[in-house]
Symmetry: C2
């Protein structure tokens, strides 16, 4: 018996689960910038022991959302405007590389996949569902990364984007109706460019896409005022309500 349609049981560890909760809490703002992540507190709130919490925090450190120093603990990190610039400039370089490879690998199936994502995005827009737009925007990029067929590139560039996720969500929510509409349309136009095989134009397009996202973040989101060389926030900022 082949037993198709049967998915393997997802075996997520507590660590991953905790990391997901913390990511969510940071993204939606209930864990604001500077909040200290005290292992004991988080563990009690989520009903697990400190070990999974430690590992979860470590994951967030890798992802750039949290910083920590030995014996001094972890806290939610707020990037500076300069760091947003850094991330975006790297994204431009890497996404241009992605585009180059996508065009090399281009085929009909890829086009359909991308078109359907844009369709879902448009549906979300018409339904007034910013969350869905955000998700489909991510799906679009993720599809491009996969089409590029370069697993390491995917890892790096998706990691970069995840560093912006909490701001992108916020900034895109503030998009006007016409703005969102133009945003969605630009994706369809971008597919046309990919299809035409014009690498230079496609790279220019995606660079504009990334830089406009950066601009939206810089104008709509609160960021750290200056370069912050001081590691920990001195004040005991309460880390309330993780779930």
């Amino acid at each position: 018996m082949p037993l198709t349609e049967v998915q393997p049981v997802k075996t997520r560890t507590f660590s991953e689960e905790v990391a997901e909760r913390l990511r969510e809490a940071i993204r939606n703002g209930s864990l604001g910038a500077g909040s200290r992540l005290v292992e004991q507190e988080v563990a009690e709130q989520l009903g697990v022991s400190r070990v999974p919490v430690r590992e979860a925090i470590q994951m967030l450190v890798e992802e750039g959302m949290v910083r920590k120093a030995p014996h001094r603990g972890a806290y939610v990190y707020l990037p500076t405007a300069y760091e947003i610039e850094e991330i975006s400039s790297l994204r431009v370089v890497l996404e241009c590389f992605v585009v180059e490879r996508v065009i090399q690998n281009w085929n009909r199936a890829h086009e359909e996949r991308l078109r359907s994502i844009v369709a879902a995005m448009r549906a979300g827009m018409q339904g007034g569902d910013p969350q869905r737009i955000y998700e489909q925007d991510y799906a679009f990029h993720y599809a491009l990364w996969e089409i590029a067929h370069h697993s390491l590139l995917l890892e790096v560039v998706s990691g970069l984007r995840s560093r912006l996720s909490r701001f992108l969500y916020e900034a895109n929510s503030a998009l006007s109706q016409e703005g969102a509409s133009r945003h969605v349309d630009s994706h369809d136009e971008f597919i046309d460019v990919l299809k035409s095989g014009d690498v230079a134009t496609a790279q220019q397009e995606i660079a504009i896409h990334i830089l406009s996202a950066k601009t939206r973040i810089l104008t709509h989101c609160q960021l750290a005022p200056v370069q912050s060389p001081a590691p920990p926030p001195t004040g005991p900022v309460a880390a309330e309500s993780v779930r």
Copy 2:
């Protein structure tokens, strides 16, 4: 009191210490590809408990030296030739970006710093010290990354290079006398190009540098034979002598 030149006392945790030992063991081959890293065993051999070992292994996973699957443990990973290609192609893209920024920021002090590194490299070559050549080669790149003044770029590109470190050391050791000499000279010539401000040429040079390193690795080092979708090596490959 400004107290420049004073570095904070580095308070290394056991985790970092263990990670360093494991890295070294992998680099010098005493932990060969496919060796399983059993937490209990490593902990006993190094005289610490399992917790620091877990964290150390996690670090190596981030660095790409080790893979792990839930409930199945960790093992030393041997990249495929394709993955070496992936790493190198990304390095080309990123180092070209580095070069662009280095030229933008170029000044006299930077030139002197790079020249002195090449001088040390040449000394190591004449002294027949391949270890030193390797170190100075790293120092050269690290200096470039710093001059680019882009901390995230530094993080990403240095991480990429660390994935190659164990192979670069091996491949560069096999360099002939004249080969090493040409290698060193090429660094001085590269500084000249940077000084001239010719971005395109500098990018071409560094691309050649990276791709020749790749070729050396592919020809001199043993790599995984095929794409390895099978995560763990089934056989209980003994993990002998970590220290």
